[in-house]
Symmetry: C2
Subunit: 112 residues, 2 copies
DNA sequence: GATAAATATTACTTGACAGGAATATTCCTT
DNA sequence: AAGGAATATTCCTGTCAAGTAATATTTATC
């Protein structure tokens, strides 16, 4: 899993931007207005989101319209999949680990 | 969605720790060994993960065994759910947005 | 081509965080 | 109770990212 996806979403304003774009593409000015952000800050956050591959730009006339990209979200979904058994199978390795410790102890203290 | 989940995962070593714990609970020393980390750093990262609710501790004798908590991952999964239609429905609001712009233009320049 | 709107970039300051070393704490063992 | 293993905390330092203000760039309009 790519760390940049998480670090991009780890900033509150950027998370807001992503959730805003969930409802559809928007130009920079609109995003800044709706989230009460300054224009430069908005552009910078969008830059980070863009470099992380979370959004893409499409120039239309004067404006630059940003929209979400599906890929990183799908990747995140796939990554989560690998954790799913953790709660679905109520799979608690704690006992297993303890048993393993026991075995090593019974083997005696001669390490290696 | 909670930002702290993302910021906790935004650090490479912490992401490694989480992925390591995916296979089962481990004590601090084991984590440090397997990831080639110093013990204090490991403890500090585990602290962050713990405060973000991603892991929980269970003291066993001398050791403190860390394991993943399901909840934040489930929340992340639910959050992703709200994006799923974005790629499943191939739902591209760009046209809609442009049409909307057109309408406003045709309405004349009298704002408000 | 000049002007203005929309957006991007830069420079500066400040605060948060990671690594490293040293130290403190907790708990087991004898 | 003493010693030692396992873990947590503190202090220090350097780096990076965010906010702000100012400026540059692009593109449409006239």
């Amino acid at each position: 899993m790519n760390v940049s996806t998480f670090s991009a979403l780890a900033e509150p304003n950027r998370l807001d931007i992503v959730e805003l774009l969930r409802d559809g593409p928007l130009p920079v000015g609109e995003i800044a207005d709706r989230l009460q952000l300054g224009q430069p800050q908005t552009s910078k956050h969008l830059r980070v989101l863009n470099e992380a591959g979370l959004v893409e730009v499409q120039p239309v006339a004067n404006k630059r319209i940003y929209k979400l990209r599906a890929q990183p979200f799908q990747e995140l979904d796939d990554w989560l999949e690998t954790f799913r058994r953790m709660w679905e199978e109520k799979f608690d390795n704690l006992e297993a680990y303890l048993r393993q410790l026991q075995e090593q102890d019974h083997r005696g203290g001669d390490k290696e």
